[in-house]
């Protein structure tokens, strides 16, 4: 039997959040955490969580499992369960809407700040803007981000200043467009980042790298942004 301790909070009925312990028979199978949640929901339909693709592509079911952020749909019990106990909490640092559902408005606001789209003031060519294979290669490890927020909500700098520090996810995307050969707004983008909070709140503790379910490295991208700012500013 697996003991699942799940964070429960319904602002309409609960004065404060509490942990609910549920016993679950997994039949000895190495289920994914999302499967466990589905089994729990079959027992108690009031449990709330986000999910969609169930294969680590949509980024909906980011949550904190036994103290580590990740996607429930691609995290097997064998990877996270210790002493037959699974503790499920919402992503840390964001306001809880209900149970495991968090309000991601501030996370998206930081994403919006980095203008996550190509800016190019030259006339559009007849077919498409071409890149060499080398130029395209620079975007590998950057474009794959699915915005699940596992990294930013594992980052203490984002917990303390979610309104000022862009966070690892947003900065990974900032570098994705700084590195893009088709983008012509590099200087404007860098000028927006040269303040004490947006980039430089990163202290390089690499929690983001440790939790990214896609295996990406936001700390390295932040290092590249720092290098670009240094070249521009000295």
């Amino acid at each position: 039997m697996l003991t699942v301790s799940i964070y429960r909070y319904n602002p309409e009925t609960d004065a404060e959040p509490y942990m609910q312990d549920v016993q679950l028979d997994t039949g000895g199978k190495d289920l994914m955490v999302l499967d466990v949640l589905e089994l729990l929901k079959a027992k108690d339909e009031t449990i709330a969580y986000r999910r969609s693709c169930r294969e680590g592509v949509c980024g909906s079911d980011g949550m904190n499992m036994n103290g580590k952020n990740g996607l429930a749909c691609i995290t097997p019990l064998s990877e996270t369960v210790k002493n037959n106990k699974l503790v499920l909490r919402p992503l840390p640092g964001l306001p809880v809407v209900r149970d495991l559902v968090v309000d991601m408005a501030i996370f998206y606001k930081q994403y919006e700040k980095v203008k996550p789209y190509l800016l190019n003031d030259s006339p559009a060519p007849a077919i498409e803007r071409l890149q060499t294979p080398e130029e395209r290669e620079k975007l590998d490890g950057l474009y794959e981000c699915i915005l699940c927020a596992c990294c930013s909500t594992a980052c203490p700098s984002f917990w303390w200043n979610p309104d000022k520090f862009i966070g690892p996810s947003g900065l990974l995307q900032a570098y994705r467009f700084l590195a893009d050969s088709r983008d012509t707004a590099t200087q404007e983008r860098l000028a927006e980042l040269d303040d004490p909070f947006s980039v430089f709140r990163c202290r390089g503790i690499m929690n983001c790298v440790a939790v990214c379910p896609k295996g990406l490295n936001p700390t390295r991208a932040i290092g590249h942004i720092r290098e670009m700012l240094l070249h521009r500013g000295t």
Partner: protein, 122 residues
């Protein structure tokens, strides 16, 4: 762009560079002193006084003092803006943070002038 008037250099890049350069200077100064004490195990006032009579040592010490002040300012400012925020202190956060930053800045100024007086005064 997030603006802030109480940070050391008003720019994240500037503070970042200052923090790293000052750290290197402080590390070199510490290594030098460790090496010097190793060379002089039975240090007396005369030897210590002799060391600081040398102009290059006084310049090096002044450089280390400036580095310490700048390093401390960037560090304390970062800590205050991390922990003394509305998330932890509510509506009083700005007042408390500003007062702590002012107190630290004044203390650093006092240490700087005091240090210069010790090194270059009569």
């Amino acid at each position: 762009m997030v603006t802030n008037v109480t940070s050391f250099g008003r720019s994240g890049l500037s503070d970042w560079v200052v923090q790293r350069v000052s750290a290197v200077i402080l590390a070199l100064y510490t290594l030098f002193l460790v090496f010097w004490f190793a060379q002089h195990p039975q240090v007396q006032y005369e030897q210590w006084s002799e060391l600081f009579k040398c102009t290059s040592m006084r310049i090096f010490s002044l450089l280390a003092l400036f580095s310490l002040i700048a390093h401390a300012w960037v560090g304390v400012w970062t800590i205050t803006t991390d922990y003394l925020t509305p998330l932890s202190l509510g509506k009083y956060a700005t007042a408390v943070r500003f007062l702590v930053q002012c107190a630290c800045t004044i203390a650093l100024f006092v240490y700087l002038v005091w240090g210069i007086d010790i090194l270059w005064g009569n």
